[in-house]
Symmetry: C2
Subunit: 347 residues, 2 copies
């Protein structure tokens, strides 16, 4: 799979910075929002970037290992939550609605037959992955199919004029997959990559740690295993499909809103395939799930929000989106000292 993601062009930076500095505010007074405005302008190669048709995609998939007890919730919650998304009752529905994001739910591999449904994109690779405790979670063909389908979804949206894609996910057991991917791709100790997910108690956490250590030992991947190999071994279909969508979206010059731990595990895969993708990413929040720290450190990312969230679904991305919109808006809509007739510094 080849993706051609160009590094950002620095040529526009001086003009963008000049435009930011001409606005009626002290130099630098909008802090991180100014860096965001610069990034958005660079991604779009424009002094007047426009963040049209922002979408949030929730990719759902099931995990074979969920039945071994890596999660506090039963596997059925994956399809039940997809139904909740379709009915508009989940947190991500509420936040997307209030913040002006179009929500789309993608069945990447839920172990449930939804039939044909409004608002649900059928991109099912299989009814859940196999358990990585016994063998690879997916075949190379399944992985590639998931990457391709994700890329197709992103390209279709970009072709229709979408300039911003937020990412979210649902899948009982997917913090465990994300922990394994994070451990293998960043080299952080496995224990630092594992947390309570949806709320394991101490005994549950100990069980999750033991199971994931067993999975790592079973797979016996070489230290230099490439990201696609690691993805097939441990990944969920929703994670693979997100990685494909991210890569294709960045290739189209779309801005990516990165949510928490699981979404960032997909980005780790994407960034190993095409490192310049990170320039297109806005890191929306710092998750309370401990493994997110290792991911952000690896990607040298500083997120916008730090609110102790650990819900997934793209909720952190949806909550941070108004800040991104505000960054583009100040660049486009604020008056300059000259246009407003405001005096400059006297000392």
């Amino acid at each position: 799979m080849k993706f051609s993601i160009p590094p950002l062009d620095a040529a526009i930076v001086p003009a963008l910075q000049q435009r930011i500095d001409s606005k009626t505010k002290p130099l630098g007074a909008l802090g991180q929002l100014e860096r965001l405005a610069l990034q958005v302008g660079q991604v779009q190669k424009s002094l007047t970037p426009s963040l049209e048709q922002p979408h949030l995609l929730v990719f759902a998939g099931d995990h074979g290992a969920a039945k071994a007890g890596v999660s506090a919730y039963p596997q059925d919650v994956t399809w039940q939550m997809v139904e909740n998304f379709l009915a508009g009752g989940a947190a991500i529905n509420v936040f997307a609605r209030h913040n002006g994001l179009v929500l789309q739910v993608i069945d990447a591999g839920v172990a449930h037959d939804f039939g044909k449904r409004d608002g649900l994109v059928d991109a099912k690779i299989a009814s859940g992955t196999r358990s990585y405790l016994d063998g690879a979670a997916m075949t190379a063909d399944e992985r590639d199919a998931a990457l391709v389908k994700g890329a197709e979804i992103a390209r279709r949206l970009a072709g229709g004029g979408c300039k911003v894609l937020g990412f979210g996910e649902m899948g009982i057991g997917n913090t465990a997959s994300a922990s394994l991917l994070t451990h293998c791709l960043t080299g952080a100790p496995l224990a630092d990559c594992i947390g309570r997910g949806t709320g394991l108690d101490d005994a549950g956490l100990a069980r999750k740690r033991a199971l994931l250590a067993r999975a790592v030992a079973r797979a016996a991947l070489p230290a230099n295993a490439d990201a696609p190999a690691v993805l097939a071994e441990f990944g969920g279909f929703e994670i693979a499909m997100m990685a494909g969508a991210m890569l294709a979206a960045a290739e189209c010059g779309v801005l990516l809103l990165i949510d928490g731990f699981i979404v960032t595990s997909a980005l780790l895969v994407a960034a190993r395939i095409a490192p310049d993708i990170c320039d297109y990413c806005i890191f929306c929040h710092r998750s309370a799930e401990p493994g997110h720290r290792a991911q952000l450190h690896d990607l040298r990312a500083e997120p916008l929000l730090d609110l102790g969230l650990c819900l997934g679904e793209g909720t952190g991305a949806a909550l941070a989106w108004p800040l991104v919109r505000a960054a583009a808006a100040f660049l486009n809509e604020m008056a300059s000292f000259e246009s407003a007739g405001v005096s400059g510094k006297s000392v």
Copy 2:
């Protein structure tokens, strides 16, 4: 001046917490947003709080000491920025517009004759304060008039159904006033309360420090001076009027969105008059202006955003408002496990 602000009623907390915990998400997974939802419900004594008619008030005033060189900008910038607000070109206009806040600008004491203008509330106490380098910035009568006018503005809005008031300000020289108020009211060392404001260079910062030390020595306030006395000595009219508006708004059960350093200096005054006001406050962001740290520490406050902003105008409040709206929205609009037919924890 008497304000009767009741402490929040804890009786509703168990029912609110039960409602939060019944939503389709792991316990506590919305982090700080869950604490916000609890606070909003307590302020409104309601399991279904409604944040109708959110307003953002920008109070503007001039400072006699500005001419002595406590700011990087000339005093005329105060009225010029008021014109910018009225024309819709300032940062706060952009952010209020995109985030659904009604903006009102209040002339609390700008040294300029605006005439009668659409969108500008004339509450001018005088054409700027006197310089606190020579004597008290305002008389006791002026201070009380500012508190009363602020209270009237807030009561009128609350009477019309406004449930959320954000606070912002404009006034060349007002970080210096805020530094003096913060030093006197929190006891923090003066040097820790003084920053670069709108962008003083090193020489300017040294001059500001020397001038403010002179002002403290000149005033020679007793260590136990009460907040109204400190306010008259150093405060701006915009700061006094904000304090009055905050006190009356909380009395009416309105939720207060607290911006950065200068707005928090008004809250310090209000909190000394009626300490329970803090329960009605949402601390929106951590300002890059260093004195804000001493204020937040004094008020035991943990802000929502930390983006290195130091613009004032209420921009931090306007940027955090979507988070507050999201907190109320999840409480009101999310499905419960029962209503959505989603299974609970299995372990």
